[in-house]
Symmetry: C2
Subunit: 240 residues, 2 copies
DNA sequence: GGTTGTGAATGTTTTCACAGCT
DNA sequence: AGCTGTGAAAACATTCACAACC
């Protein structure tokens, strides 16, 4: 796309607007992300019921936010009592689609890739690492976390055979775009990118990006702009 | 409870409201995060100037967003021409506080920890990995990425000696809370948490959390709720 | 011609506050 | 009394659209 008509339509981003039948409600992006976290916290609980205040504290959000989030799941608590843990896990899982399993391809088996391959939290969340790829001949053919490492050149064949739906890029930045294109060619339309590079892909491919350095820099930014002690609210101000 | 500034707008308590002297403007959280990204992209540029449209495309945002973000930095472009790369890098760096160096302690030297320790992008962004810790006797005393691995029990001593300001937790979930408390005891007030656990810390400690499984699950969520082909807008709908 | 900088408009997310249920 | 569920308000963020400028 080479649209250069002012600012109009540069990015065919995702618009979430919904006709929605009666009884159906769209779940905001932000709420969906937190629901996943509640699920995680709920799993560690040992009590039979839990209040919004308690669950919220454990998840690191306010109780108002939590109740609003759960309102998208549907009525699932008992006024005066709280939420039944077991039942809530079931309902949230249902909404997040955890019952559905997705097979994941992981490109790049360096330290980060191996950390991901060995990550324990995937299975319980509907995710299965199904294929590993690398470009390094030293690593190709070896096994990591019980899986064989394939040549990145075989992405299309292997991914189609393994019915992969989601791709993860844990390669160096220089290889990211090329690998991403190969994944898309293999029919993958959801990509998680750990490489510090922006990917240029068709609009219907969903890309999430995790930038490790960026997260640290955000901490540094706040450290720099920490309010002078005594002030009530945190402030981020710059003189021009 | 500590301020949990998560990836996807999950924030319990951030007040950015400021009397602010004339000429000063608060930088929104979201803009600050993107500014860091622009800085990264600018570094890869070889041209002398760049337009908002071009820079935006490389960073994966719209040009309107980019110009708005840069407006917080101050007027820094030339109408009809664009931004001078060199100068822009300087101004954005200034605002983000990249000139100031922060020393980082990394707890947990498993695959993820080693990936972080070896990450090339830190130095250029004002960050220095200054100390490594682990609880495994096998790893203590060894070296990773040219740094000695200390016993996690020595966090306080080593961190104070090394003047560490930021802590990173890359341990298993079970150890996270304990390690976090040790870091706080060592005087650290900014923590990046990779363990899939919520940290309960004093309110003045800033915590950012990166949950690898959550990022994947968000992709899966969208995959599940992909619009039926033919419909124009993407919709996320759940029946109740 | 082309591009920036920004007020205004729109869209999204969080917080408030309270009716209504147990 | 205690707690949920939710409409309404507030805060926050993005996008539009255009005047001002080169």
């Amino acid at each position: 796309m080479a649209t250069q008509v002012g600012d109009v339509h540069e990015d065919a981003a995702r618009r979430v607007a919904v006709p929605a039948r009666s009884g159906a409600r769209p779940i905001p992006q932000a709420s969906a992300a937190r629901l996943s976290r509640y699920l995680q916290v709920l799993g560690d609980l040992t009590t039979r019921t839990v209040s919004s205040a308690d669950l919220a504290r454990r998840a690191g959000v306010t109780s108002a936010t939590l109740r609003k989030d759960l309102s998208f799941v549907g009525p699932c608590g008992t006024p005066g009592v709280g939420y039944e843990v077991e039942a809530l896990i079931g309902q949230v899982s249902q909404v997040l689609g955890v019952h559905r399993r997705y097979r994941v391809a992981l490109a790049g088996v360096g330290h980060l890739g191996q950390a991901l391959a060995g990550y324990p939290g995937f299975t319980g969340r509907g995710l299965t690492i199904a294929a590993l790829f690398d470009a390094d001949p030293e690593r190709i053919g070896g096994t990591v976390a019980g899986l064989q490492v394939h040549d990145i050149a075989d992405v299309a064949t292997v991914c189609r055979a393994a019915d992969v739906a989601i791709g993860v890029i844990a390669t160096p930045a220089g290889a990211a775009q090329q690998v991403a294109e190969a994944l898309v060619d293999a029919g993958i339309r959801s990509i998680l990118n750990f490489a510090p590079a922006a990917l240029d892909l068709p609009a219907d491919v969903q890309v999430r990006r995790v930038d490790l350095a960026l997260e640290l820099q955000m901490l540094a930014f706040h450290e720099t702009h920490r309010e002078p002690a005594g002030s009530a609210g945190g402030a981020v101000v710059v003189r021009r």
